[in-house]
């Protein structure tokens, strides 16, 4: 069978990985090819701060919460291996801050050590009077994607450059040199929207400072007023940022959708049928949900394999 994976961000590469893992010994030959217009370090996944954290509430999309959990547990398992460093995964604890009491988030039982913030902690963040502390995982795209690419290339997966179009939402952030910060801080505003309130996420090299989220903006040019605002509010949250050297700034487009599209579609083209598995629309939680979606993609692939009678016949 011949499989084309469109997209070489975390979703595409991990889907390729899951399909290979589960079917390379069942389907022979199994040719997997990755097509994309951008590869690491230029994909959206590379620009992500890399904090594993879903949006606070799944709004009934329990399948997505299940995939998030699968991803967390999968990465946590890798942590005990020395390979973890090469994958760009590590633990980091931090604070989710709100301006008023809110129901517990969908990820409370998935992360480690989830609890409410104490009075003392809330005093550390003037302007916020409710929130949570937990230990979560970091998955740094700039390291994880090369690791995945390497993993796939070693197993014969080929990569090809091709141009694609898609619907996105812009976000703007900056990366600063502030190695003294060891906790992430995410604030949540009540007037809706996600990630349009400041956040500070330390990575293994630099700290991502961000918080502008505009639906439907196609521009990838940086907006200087947005920059000013993010910076000002972030410094109020973390005064030591005043001394941090700004290293990079970045405007990225998150691939948003009302919910993740992960399903099959059969397309007629000329006289033949093409089986398509869609796995897109992961917005600002691609790294967070990638493994769960990749495994589901492989499961759907399995259905196709069965339909086409490609499974090895049982020896009777």
């Amino acid at each position: 069978m011949r499989v084309a994976v469109i997209g070489a961000g975390v979703i595409g590469l991990s889907a390729a990985q899951s399909i290979y893992e589960q079917y390379h010994s069942i389907v022979s030959p199994l040719t997997i090819e990755v097509y994309a217009d951008r590869f690491t370090p230029l994909t959206t996944s590379d620009g992500a701060a890399g904090l594993w954290q879903p949006y606070l509430y799944d709004k009934g999309k329990i399948q997505e919460t299940k995939w998030n959990k699968e991803t967390f547990d999968y990465l946590l398992n890798w942590l005990s291996s020395p390979e973890a460093v090469k994958m760009g995964i590590f633990l980091q604890s931090g604070y989710n801050l709100c301006t008023e009491p809110r129901p517990e988030p969908s990820f409370k039982d998935i992360v480690l050590g989830f609890r409410q913030l104490t009075e003392r902690e809330l005093q550390m963040f003037p302007g916020y009077n409710f929130g949570w502390f937990n230990t979560a995982l970091m998955v740094e795209g700039k390291t994880y994607l090369p690791w995945l690419t390497d993993w796939l290339k070693k197993r014969g997966v080929k990569f090809y450059h091709k141009k694609i179009e898609s619907f996105k939402e812009v976000r703007i952030w900056g990366a600063v040199d502030a190695p003294w910060l060891k906790h992430w801080i995410i604030t949540h505003s009540t007037n809706g929207g996600v990630y349009n309130s400041p956040y500070i996420i330390p990575g293994s090299r630099l700290v991502t400072v961000g918080g502008v989220f505009q639906l439907g903006n196609w521009s990838e040019q940086n907006n200087s007023t947005d920059h000013e605002n993010i910076w000002k509010t972030a410094c109020r949250l973390e005064p030591s940022l005043k001394h941090a050297r700004i290293v990079e700034d970045w405007a990225g487009l998150r691939p948003a959708r009302s919910k993740v599209r992960l399903e099959r579609e059969t397309i007629q083209s000329g006289g033949s049928t093409i089986e398509v598995i869609h796995n897109y629309g992961h917005g600002g939680f691609g790294l967070t949900i990638h493994r769960g979606c990749a495994q589901e993609t492989a499961r759907l692939f399995g259905q196709i394999v069965t339909q086409k009678g490609k499974r090895p016949k049982a020896r009777l």
Partner: protein, 338 residues
């Protein structure tokens, strides 16, 4: 009262903290800081500087809590301010784990740090050799930055710094009205205190920027402390051992023990090794006395030494305590003379 000449002996974290407290709070004192060694050559410089404590057997619990709380609150305020990177003071979260369930599950300082609680089973799973653990957020104070930062504060408050080896407190009677002794291990000779002894500690600095939490074994011998620019791993607790040179066997043992707790350390590049002698005593000595010094009838001496491996943890609290003792000494000074 004007111009009380105070000398503080010792420029480690305890000496500098005490000198700053006196200089900033008592303008009537002109304070001189005398020491043989300054940062980066003090015992404090190599310390990882993570703040938590062990109880001292003979000091009333309330006083120990006050020492801890004063120090913690002082450092937390710095960590939360724009001065954090300059002062080398940061927030640090992590785990203290025990191979056997300890007698005291909640140490005296558990309500003084942030978010203290027992580890969940899931969190303990990462440490298969350990049965119990505590998780909390504390502060880390890196003396290689903190001491110069304190020295700057000291000078701004009018303090004077002099590099000099003091062989005996006798030398100080002539030029000073009040002596504050923060000479750590040096007190053994300087004050003739037989209760002072070294506890040798060796550490390695490694490059592992992916480590964001501290991990400490409750036995105090194995620990991993991520800092601003490197991770300090250790250690050893060799009582009565005066060796200041690096021991290869200790390095190997440290790497082995720490890698067992945190396998990713196997990939970490070793940046350096360091040895320090914890200036230990059964209890820290924070008290005053009068001494007969050369040229004078008697001079008040305030002692603040013997903090062992808890110098960074209680430096500010004991400095404030020593400041109180200095105030008492000043009250007793004859006004006519000054």
């Amino acid at each position: 009262m004007t111009g009380v000449r105070v000398v503080v002996v010792g420029a480690g974290v305890v000496g500098l903290s005490t000198a700053v407290c006196i200089a900033e709070s008592l303008p009537v004192c002109s304070v001189t800081l005398l020491a043989e060694k300054f940062s980066p050559d003090t015992t404090s410089d190599g310390a990882a500087g993570i703040v938590f404590a062990a109880p001292f057997p003979d000091i009333p619990l309330e006083r120990q809590r006050r020492w801890f709380k004063d120090s913690f609150d002082h450092l937390l305020a710095i960590a939360q301010s724009q001065h954090a990177p300059d002062a080398g003071v940061i927030l640090s979260s992590g785990w203290q784990i025990f191979k056997e369930v300890p007698a005291t599950k909640e140490p005296y300082w558990s309500d003084l740090v942030i978010g203290f609680r027992a580890m969940t089973d899931r969190e303990l799973k990462r440490f298969p050799d350990h049965k119990f653990g505590q998780v909390f957020t504390t502060v880390k104070c890196e003396c290689s930055s903190y001491l110069p930062w304190l020295e700057e504060r000291f000078r701004k408050a009018g303090g004077r710094v002099e590099q000099r080896r003091v062989s005996s407190l006798q030398e100080l009677g002539d030029g000073f009205d009040l002596v504050v002794n923060c000479s750590g291990l040096g007190s053994k000779a300087l004050v003739g205190d037989p209760g002072v002894y070294p506890v040798r500690g060796q550490v390695l600095q490694v490059e592992a920027p992916w480590l964001t939490h501290f991990i400490r074994d409750g036995d105090g011998k194995t620990y991993i402390y991520p800092g601003v620019h490197s991770v300090t791993i250790g250690g050893t607790r060799q009582e009565g051992d005066w060796r200041l040179h690096v021991d290869r066997g200790d390095s190997a043992s440290i790497l082995e023990r720490c890698s067992r707790l945190e396998p990713s350390l196997k990939k970490a590049k070793v940046l350096g090794e360091w040895v320090g002698l914890r200036p230990s005593r059964r209890n820290p000595r924070v008290e005053r006395e009068r001494m007969l010094l050369q040229g004078r009838t008697s001079v008040p001496v305030v002692h603040n030494y013997g903090h062992g491996g808890w110098g960074v943890t209680i430096a500010w609290g004991t400095a404030l305590d020593a400041l109180g003792l200095v105030r008492q000494c000043l009250k007793e000074m004859p006004r006519a003379k000054l």
